[in-house]
Symmetry: C2
Subunit: 267 residues, 2 copies
Amino acid sequence: MPVLFLRNIMISVNWRNQIDKIRFLFNSKRESYFLFYDILGFFPHHIQYYEHALLHKSIAVRSQKTGRLINNERLEFLGDAILDAVVGDLVYSCFSHSHEGFLTNLRSKIVQRDSLNKLAVEIGLDKLIKCDLPSPTHNHSLCGNALEALIGAIYLDRGYSYCKWFFENRIINRYIDLEKLARKEVNFKSKLVEWSQKNKIEVSFELIEQFFDKHNNPMFQTEVLISGISCGYGVGYSKKESQQKASEMAIKKIRKNKEIDSLFFEK
Amino acid sequence: MPVLFLRNIMISVNWRNQIDKIRFLFNSKRESYFLFYDILGFFPHHIQYYEHALLHKSIAVRSQKTGRLINNERLEFLGDAILDAVVGDLVYSCFSHSHEGFLTNLRSKIVQRDSLNKLAVEIGLDKLIKCDLPSPTHNHSLCGNALEALIGAIYLDRGYSYCKWFFENRIINRYIDLEKLARKEVNFKSKLVEWSQKNKIEVSFELIEQFFDKHNNPMFQTEVLISGISCGYGVGYSKKESQQKASEMAIKKIRKNKEIDSLFFEK
């Protein structure tokens, strides 16, 4: 995106903020407006989008306009995609000579559930979420989902460029060291083992095959079994590498497929 | 995004096109400019982005600026995310009361590989792709990938709003009936069987378990095996539904994980 355009956005944000600060001082919802200002770095135009983004599905709120029950799941759908685009653009620009495999990896480190949950807590979004759960802190995706929904709200309220401005200036520049993150290797095996211990589910690794590649290097294929069910496998130049890849596949499967997740938790 | 903003984009596209038409008549690359105009509905500002989007990795082109070998894979990474955001926004606005599960499904029907390949051919992008393959038409992802890279090029050249304008006006409104597509059910089982026959790989379905849900309805769990390896399973209220879900999981696994794909093709 042209630099001049982004500079214009910044000038526009600063200039609008001064006017809005005076305007919202006399608004009946001024407390809400200023709370969101602290998080966003600008004032909402339509505060109902942001309020909507913080409604977890456990709480039933009826829309005043349509009479339907509303929660933040639709906004989360929208925000999830916008976030991928925004982070995709940022890593594309920052690492101008890197291969797309590296970019995909780096983006997924930023937008993965754990990372978004932490970021949501760091910007103080967790305190504003409205939910009706016995132990909301145990619902691991709640905060990250609300952050995605917030991006969806910014998009509807101010458009794509503000989403980019927000994520770059209020999140990345404050909480993420891109260079450091790029070098960080995710240990999928330990993540999977941690998950299995927490949920008391058996996880085992089985070496299926050992063979040689075309250059005669030894290769290993490992299968990961969760409660005896095959949930992923990986091929690598060491047992460790193959276990790491198998774990990555199993984690993705668990995270993406709510059906599997509930299947295991029901056990 | 505000309607007024989008109307302004449309006026701006029409107005700029008239000036650009005269300007590019005297440009040495006028043929290229007019070719892209036919596809995009507007003239490129920086034509090199668009030329870059059409370079398949099989062809080695060296950048005049950096001296590095370039292809369209990085632009494809960028365009893929932008496309998800654009289509996400479109289905979110068109189906204002639909559940996010429905929206996710509908979006994936539009952005899935087969669909993007067809769209790329319909807008005539396939004829412009530069590649060095013995039978490019057999590379199924080539056209769809180029379309994603084109979206990446539009994003870098003109920004997000033009990507949205392009996909809405030049693709969705011309080639996709959203209401009809929303009703269309994807038959994952037949897709998987088709793939197995084509690649001569054995696929089998095994009923693992039959049980009852809490309301005493019978339920089925099916596992799908590809070459004897477990590649997915599904739970449903009929055998057909459970096979359908298991096939969907296996297809996703094959498509997302190039390692698995190559593993099967090597057999």
